[in-house]
Amino acid sequence: MATMLKENNIISKALLTIDQYKGNLNNLKSSVLDNEYTPLNCPKYFSRTLIWKCCLITDSLSIHNWYTKLHDSRIIYHQLTKRNDMIIPWWVLDPESPFFQSKELSIHNKSNIKRTNSRTSRSTTTTTTNSVSINKIPLTRVSNIDDPLRSPNRSPVRSTRSPTPSLPYQITEEDIELLQIIVLDIERLFPGEQFYQSTNSITHKRHLIEILYVWSRCNPQVGYKQGIHEILGLFYKNLYQESIEIPRTNTISSDDVKILNLYDINYLNHDLFTIFNKFILTSGIISKFYESEEVLWKTIETFNVYLMKVDQLIHYNLLNKLKLESQLWIIRYFRLILLRELGNDLETTTLLWDKLIASPQIHSYGGIPELLMFMIIQLLIQLKTNLITCDFSESLSLLLHYPIQSHLHNQLTRHEFIGNLIKDSLKLYERKANDLKLYEYGLKLNNIYNPNLRITMSYSGSARNSGEISATSSAPVSRSPTPLASNNTSNNSHNSHNNTSSSINHKHPDPKAEQLKFEKLRLEMRLKKKAQSMLR
């Protein structure tokens, strides 16, 4: 029987893994980070579910701790989905949509559940929002839409109140809009992935929509943002493939049941919700990359500073010479955690995410975003020869179409590439507070990835020959009074109406920007001197 084989297979993988790492989760984590516990190295016992769920849910590799931890985590999603205000209004969708369900059917699975206080997780603005009659929505929707450009927040909808008898919670126009935008994106999720185009894909997609809807309702300050659906989609696909239906027989030992419980397909969505929430919310990914524009600019600025500390030449070429602001290309890198940069299949990204989940950074707020910055810097260093010789539009094309294929020849090169990416970025992360060490590690990375690139430092100060690979060390200082921080330079030589970032600048207090600018200038001069002395 195929199913029995799958169970035995899972039990055997879990037991072998636990045995290999002596039941110690930290041993497993180290092994993942060291590129040892991978599908390539451990084909007999590699289990992705085990890494993800043990790192993010059970926090233990000891099967006796699993049941309670899983139960505690699963009950959260269970209770959320039983709330009346979390009912997914499938019936408001176009009746021809594959996700359309009658109202009766949509509500049915909640009907036997005690009503709870249905509005606790809603923000105060939304709880007071007028509700609309769900029957009238298709007619009133367009005329009632508030200006989407000028009102990014939920706004009251002018419409008739009419209570819906069967639902104590009134579906609002915002709820409908939320569902529609999620459906829109999930319908076009990973068009190249067979998994999401198969006959079962509607069921998979319905689960994804439900999780995203509930998550967005729980986090009204963020809501749904394009991009998080792909993160969830990658998680779902991988966990689904290892999930199983637990057989209802008495022939399985209690230890085996504890193991199978981790893989129970009936709790796939519950576990996914917890993993997704930990990965994007408690790690800081949402707040650093998605939630507010202001924070996103600051995050990008942090990246620029790190880039300058690690590789001055790339920083100089992109930001000063080409005036290619990082925000033009980096947003997708950030928001999708490299998902679209690492090739067309999800495999490479998944290998990387195994490591992110096993890293200590996942448990510290802002850790993953910073680690990601160093990964991007490493990727740029591997592309350095191009980045310092190309013009604006060539560089931009390279950054927005990262030439990944050369690393994906076979499984071995793929694993090596990801292993190095995580190793280098962890090393940089360890050094993040020490500028000199970052600089030195940058040199080391250049020796590895660009051994043939000879950069000659001329400290003449003329620095007009910046098109060459040589003579760039002194250029930033001599060329412009504000060589860095494209974000914050509003009053330099660029004429202001053409400055792409002028609108941003008005929002930042000038003294802060000035100070940041000064700090960076100082740091760069120090680094230049250091570089000069080392090369003499």
Partner: protein, 221 residues
């Protein structure tokens, strides 16, 4: 390096609500290709394509923005220095037309004064089967007249197109290319484009060409 027929660089930005087909229009124009269920754009995409109009060669530098992005300063970053903009809506989605109206207004208020704008009602293929007798069940929700009226009011170009069938797609870019004043790039160049943040070297080349100076020195890289 020397070009027999120096291309004029034109920075073009696409704006419009999510899933109206911005990326698909670009894909059709640049690669003559179409993908059903194209994934949403995150942040922005950047592509270039040359286009010959009569004796003029235009190199479009196309910024394809994310439709859901409602950040106040993200879109301006892309349209600030643009010489051309395509505002896209979906002829079957009235809400997208409302959004398009706002984009046109915002462009007129915030973008460069002489920006060339085209209003494009996409997904024309969906309404080809509509019958005039059965308006209730027609797919079309935004009439040609509504689109044309808005374009006339705002003094901009108007097209209905289908990225899926290819209908009118090249015409949009040719229309824009023909409308962009020849002198415009040259006149606005020395102060404006040349020192702008996002134009970089490409622009120096085109400016040099337009100013009848030798472009050779500028574009060596």
């Amino acid at each position: 390096m020397s070009f027999p027929n120096p291309a004029t660089s034109v920075k073009l930005v696409l704006l419009g609500e999510a899933a109206v087909g911005k990326s698909s229009l670009v894909l059709r124009f640049v690669s003559n290709d179409f993908q059903e269920n194209k994934e949403p754009t995150i942040g922005a995409a950047f592509l270039t394509q040359k286009c010959t109009i009569g004796s003029k060669v235009i190199k479009y530098e196309i910024w394809d923005t994310a439709g859901q992005e409602r950040f106040a300063s993200l879109a301006p970053m892309y349209y600030r220095n643009a010489q051309a903009a395509i505002v896209v809506y979906d002829v079957t989605k009235p809400a997208s037309f409302i959004r398009a109206r706002h984009w046109v207004k915002e462009l007129h208020e915030q973008a460069s004064k002489d920006i060339t704008i085209a209003l494009v009602g996409n997904k024309y293929d969906l309404v080809e089967q509509d019958s005039p007798e059965d308006e209730e069940n027609n797919m079309r929700k935004v009439s040609v007249e509504e689109g044309q009226n808005l374009a006339d009011e705002e003094g901009i170009l108007f097209f209905e197109s289908s990225a899926k069938s290819g209908y009118n797609v090249n015409d949009i870019f040719i229309g824009i290319g023909s409308k962009i004043p020849e002198s415009k790039v040259a006149s606005s160049a020395p102060g404006g484009q040349g020192s702008s943040n996002t134009e970089g070297r490409i622009d120096l080349t085109s400016n040099a060409a337009n100013n009848n100076r030798s472009g050779g020195g500028e574009c060596a890289c």
